[in-house]
Point group: none
DNA sequence: TCCTAATCGAGACGGTACGTCTGGTCTTGAG
DNA sequence: CTCAAGACCAGACGTACCGTCTCGATTAGGA
């Protein structure tokens, strides 16, 4: 069926490209990374990069996730507030670290490139939302939360303020903020 | 004091540049706008643009706001929920319109350029937050809201999900969503 | 040793550049030729030109000589006067032709660019001086000329008035002038 | 007749422009002089320069001659050879001095600008040729030179090799060369 | 003393070309 | 067939001067 004629793709080359892409991203920021720079650093020809990725955003994103994929701990303390605090405190620590700040630039790049956006939604956000969903479901089961919650919207409620600060206001993200945020969302503004 | 030596700056030229910048932004999107394109469309020399703006992002932003500045209605129905619904429904209508979608790209550009970020914070977000603050304060005065609210954080709670959807998930923003969002935030997830 | 990695330089492109350069030189004169104009006419990118030549003067000069290199007849009539007349009459015909007039501008350009000067000395003047040297040497051997001549200085004596007229006085160069010039130089002003 | 309405032209301004033009010429060479640079150095507006001169070449030339005009000694020793030696040795000292080297660049500029050429012919060459003519005429009267000389062509014979070396070969000009040059021209190459 | 006309500085402006840079594509020859 | 090397076109970058054009402030002589 699918023949394998000719020289096979070199895994080393692929790794070198992703590593170079990630290094350049972390050294200079997304917008100053160039395909040419990646090719040079990786000791690879530009054509090889274009052969396997459609453009700079794709390589850099791949490089980022290749270097960043990590196990996400699933908190389960028996308390929604505490579980949420643990998850989002971890997240806020991550996204304010150098590694995390890059996600900012990738989200920005995603505004000009739907493929990129899809990618980080699937690889970055979905797994984390999955964990939040578990927390909320257990909370409902335990009666800590209202039964009628729209889970997806509820998850948005917590993620959103973090990224709003990150992308728009630039305000600090610390554990006090996370704690108060969760309190507000649980309690509501009313009454 | 402030001298007026030399040929005065041409207001027509300035207007032509801003108009051209805005038109190109709305036709092609931020990242395909070029200074050269603006210069040509405006019938203006590149040097003149560089004289008054440091780069593409600055001109385009200026062009955007010059074309977009509008009166913001201040709702005051006597009900926090209704006031917030009116404000944020209007906002969601705006940011899902062609004109509003551009703000997405400017926010993206702001990730690579602190000056830009500052600009849209001041010109776009601050006036709107000011209105929200008024709504919340009146709500507290009327006893509709908890007295101990941190106003800024509370405002974030409402703005954030809109822009989270806009920038990250891409989910739809309609009046049903706004209504439910406000409900959730007022009531809280708890109990 | 000298490796031949990578895509080889395109001879067609090179030719197109030189041709375009020469055409523009002959149409408009040296100082209105631009690299951008050459690139456009040749259907070539500016970067390609800058890759192989340091600047406009170098390309134009190369284009000029690529279009102009021709066989130089070596007169040998048995008479110094006649040989010199043939050589310099030919030369005067050439340098008053359109093709030849360009050399004027290249000499001018050479005043601001030593590399250019070196180039036309080697490619234009040296071969012609070589012929003159032969004529004079044969003349000395035949006893037509003084034995103690400094050949280089003597050659200067004939070339110089042609280019002096060309570059400075602008007086006409015709075969009568050449004849009289050679007479004067042979005879001397004295006595 | 010619009315003198309005503010009269400022002589100081004119002087400042010419001085600035000359200074910049001597510091950086003709081709790097700019009208803008002259205007700044002279503390003058560009428009004022364009009011009185058609372009850079004209101002610089004027500046050059304003700074350079000097008395030309008229040698009269009773010997043509000695007179010529004195005149051309002086000339060669001048044109190999910094001040004199600039004339090279002006001659180059003259290739692209007939007005410039006319100017230095009249202001630089004619006065010197006039002196040479006197020397030759006295030589003829004294019987040192042939009666049938074409004076203009004879003058060319001496000027030409100096400028040929200056503009084309770049060979040195020293008093030995001048002496031998005059000898050769007087004696002729023949016999 | 005011008026008129020209000069001048400052500096904005439309242009044009500069030389550089990156993006993507294409062409070799080696493996 | 893959790949490194690297030539190539396309086109924007930001800069530098060009020569022209307002401005407002002088600076005379003539009214």
């Amino acid at each position: 069926m699918d023949k394998k004629l000719g020289r096979p793709r070199s895994e080393e080359t692929k790794k070198a490209i992703l590593t170079a892409a990630y290094e350049l991203l972390s050294e200079n920021g997304f917008d100053t990374v160039t395909i040419e720079g990646i090719a040079e650093r990786a000791g690879v020809s530009k054509a090889t990069i274009y052969k396997w990725w459609p453009g700079k955003a794709a390589v850099v994103l791949d490089g980022y996730f290749a270097a960043t994929e990590l196990l996400l701990p699933v908190p389960d303390t028996g308390s929604v507030k505490e579980d949420l605090f643990q998850q989002f405190n971890n997240l806020s620590i991550f996204i304010t670290s150098p590694k995390g700040k890059m996600i900012t630039e990738l989200i920005a790049a995603g505004q000009f490139n739907p493929g990129i956006a899809e990618e980080y939604r699937v690889r970055f956000f979905n797994p984390r939302r999955h964990i939040s969903r578990g927390i909320l479901e257990r909370g409902i089961a335990r009666g800590e939360l209202r039964k009628d919650l729209d889970l997806e919207r509820s998850i948005d409620l917590i993620f959103a303020p973090l990224f709003y600060r990150l992308l728009i206001t630039g305000d600090t993200l610390d554990s006090a903020f996370i704690r108060e945020l969760i309190n507000d969302i649980m309690k509501g503004l009313g009454q």
